[in-house]
Amino acid sequence: MLKNMQEKIGYLRETQLGSFIPVLLALIAIWVYFGIVEPVFLSPRNFYFLFMQSAVVGTLAVGVTLVLLMGDIDLSIATVAGVCAAIVAVLSTNMGVSAPIACLVGLGAGALLGGIMGTVIAYFRVPSFVVTLAGLLGFQGLMMKILGIHGAINVRDPFIRGLTTTTLPDSIGLILAAIGIIIFGLTIWKSRRARNAKNLDNELLYLSIIKFVFFSTLVLTATLILNAYRGVPVTIIILLSITGFLGWLTTSTSYGRAIFAVGGNLESARRVGISIEYMRISAFALVGFMAAVGGIIGASRYASVSFNAFAGGPLLLEAIGAAVIGGTSLFGGRGSVWNAILGALVIGSLGNGLDLAGAQAADKLMFSGAILLIAVTLDALTRGGTSRK
């Protein structure tokens, strides 16, 4: 009886909705708490800034999830973001290259740096921890070199600035939200029908309904809140689109299967003919690309690129923390890119709320540490749960 219950809970955690629940509860708890302590926390304006503040961390967290799923880690993401942001800034501000091209070069540089580290990890069998730590140090130096003696470059280009200052008109935001909800509903409905037709087991109808209602409410409320201030930021749309693509890539392609297989059982992946080298190189290149996206968003938001904003600050730990808080396992094989966004919101909300409450930097660090510790412990506990069978 008890064992049965445990199995059911374990099983639930493995489902998409189930893996969302712990981090979502944490997020709601944080919001309720700060909502009571600092009512302004729940204002549309603050929510808008909360989303924007979490965007850079979220982008990096989504990226690093890819290699965490394979049981690897990338400690260089924040620095790679910094290098790419610096490249974009130098190209557009100092050298007068048109901004979109500068951004493309930056994105390419991110993928290249990631790919190089991936190659070393794949072919020389050096643990990713060490290679990316070396990357962290080396790229810090590279970033300083690119930024030059002043250590910071302003970014005034309207295109780059526009990435984080533009918001969608209210109506467009609502239409996009509606389209998203309809697609989500149709997907669930079509899948249920197809499974019924093929006589495959379906999840309980009420679970599907809960899932749909839950998703729609979330999307609609978020849109309405953002509309109440300045509208849905373009940044959020970019981030959600990329995450949507990576979510599809990891769950609905052979590539994604291979990522999970490498993280779950390397030997098994090798025996079925998956090229571990190819997987490592491409995944690290993707992470590098995502770091570059994060770097460009950061440059746009701060209107400048400085060493401290990327390489020197807490960005790296916040990003990895966000992924783990979202429920992605540090041991590899379990997690989702979508959860990384929730994790980023948890970290963002905590920082934002503590700021509003007038907390010191020291308190903020200790709080973040505690939350991360809880998340990692949960991770270790659930891992023991499944492998003990």
């Binding site: 199995e7 099983y11 499974r195 495959l200 999970f260 059982n265 998956i274 069978k389």
Partner: protein, 269 residues
């Protein structure tokens, strides 16, 4: 070499059954000073379960690894339906229809039943659109799940109800079933099982043995390695005995008593 002639004479029933599908001749494998396999010959028919017994270190696993291409032998030749074939890698072996289920199974606990069955060999949409890289074509989840269900039904595995259960939640016997199902899903004709019941309890052992029997009905040539002679006698048609890296005899199960086998395993006669 002489021994092989004796073996064939011991098999008067061979005329009535299927012809020999696979044979290995004169396999030699040395590890440093140890003769793990010393001029071993071995043969299999389709629709037959061949037991492979022998004491620890007799060379059973080494022989299976040679046949499945996991470990190259020093000399020897392999024949399928009378034609000589090269087996230099696991890929060679599987392309010739030879599949091995290792004792450690090598399943991904974090993936579900369907994903494990199709790992590295997924069914995809748009598979004729060559411009899209293979790894990026969308998976056909439903087809794979349907085929998984069908594969387990054929193997008479009844205890796994949802194909979306993660392997981590399955019992040892159920995992063994999945590993075997994966081995025979591709167009394999030869299935090598290295101690599939070693870690299992009574009821799960029974489950796996039933599964082995059903492989005979699907006309596979099956090798079953086990230290449990009861299990061997329950499912095998013939038994090959190995001792100190040599094949010392092949026996029809119905004409042989377990005591005889024990005597051959321990004393070589």
């Amino acid at each position: 070499m002489k021994k092989n002639n004796i073996n064939l004479m011991k098999n008067p029933s061979s005329e009535q059954t299927n012809p020999i599908h696979f044979s290995a001749q004169g396999i030699v494998k040395k590890f440093g000073g140890i003769d793990a396999l010393n001029d071993v010959s071995f043969e299999l028919r389709r629709g037959e379960v061949m037991g492979l017994v022998g004491d620890n270190g007799a060379g059973k696993s080494t022989l299976m690894k040679a046949i499945s291409g996991a470990q190259l032998c020093d000399s020897g030749a392999f024949f399928i339906d009378g034609k000589e074939v090269k087996i230099d890698s696991p890929h060679d072996a599987s392309s010739k229809g030879i599949q091995i289920v290792y004792q450690d199974l090598a399943l991904c606990e974090n993936l579900d039943v369907t994903a494990n069955l199709f790992l590295g060999n997924e069914i995809r949409y748009l598979d004729n659109l060559k411009i899209i890289p293979r790894a990026l074509r969308p998976l056909n989840h439903l087809s794979m799940e349907e085929q998984t269900k069908e594969a387990l039904r054929k193997l008479k595995v009844k205890t796994i109800t949802s194909m979306r259960t993660k392997i981590g939640f399955l019992s040892g016997g159920q995992r063994q079933s999945i590993a075997i199902a994966r081995a025979i899903k591709s167009d394999s004709t030869i299935v090598l099982l290295d101690e599939p019941t070693a870690a299992l309890g009574v009821s799960q052992t029974k489950e796996v043995l039933e599964l082995v029997k059903s492989l005979r009905e699907t006309n596979h040539a099956v090798v079953l390695i086990s230290h449990n002679l009861n299990n061997i006698f329950e499912v095998c048609d013939r038994i090959t005995i190995m001792r100190q890296g040599e094949n010392i005899g092949v026996f029809d199960t119905i004409n042989t008593a377990p005591d005889q086998i024990v005597s051959y395993i321990t004393r070589g006669k």
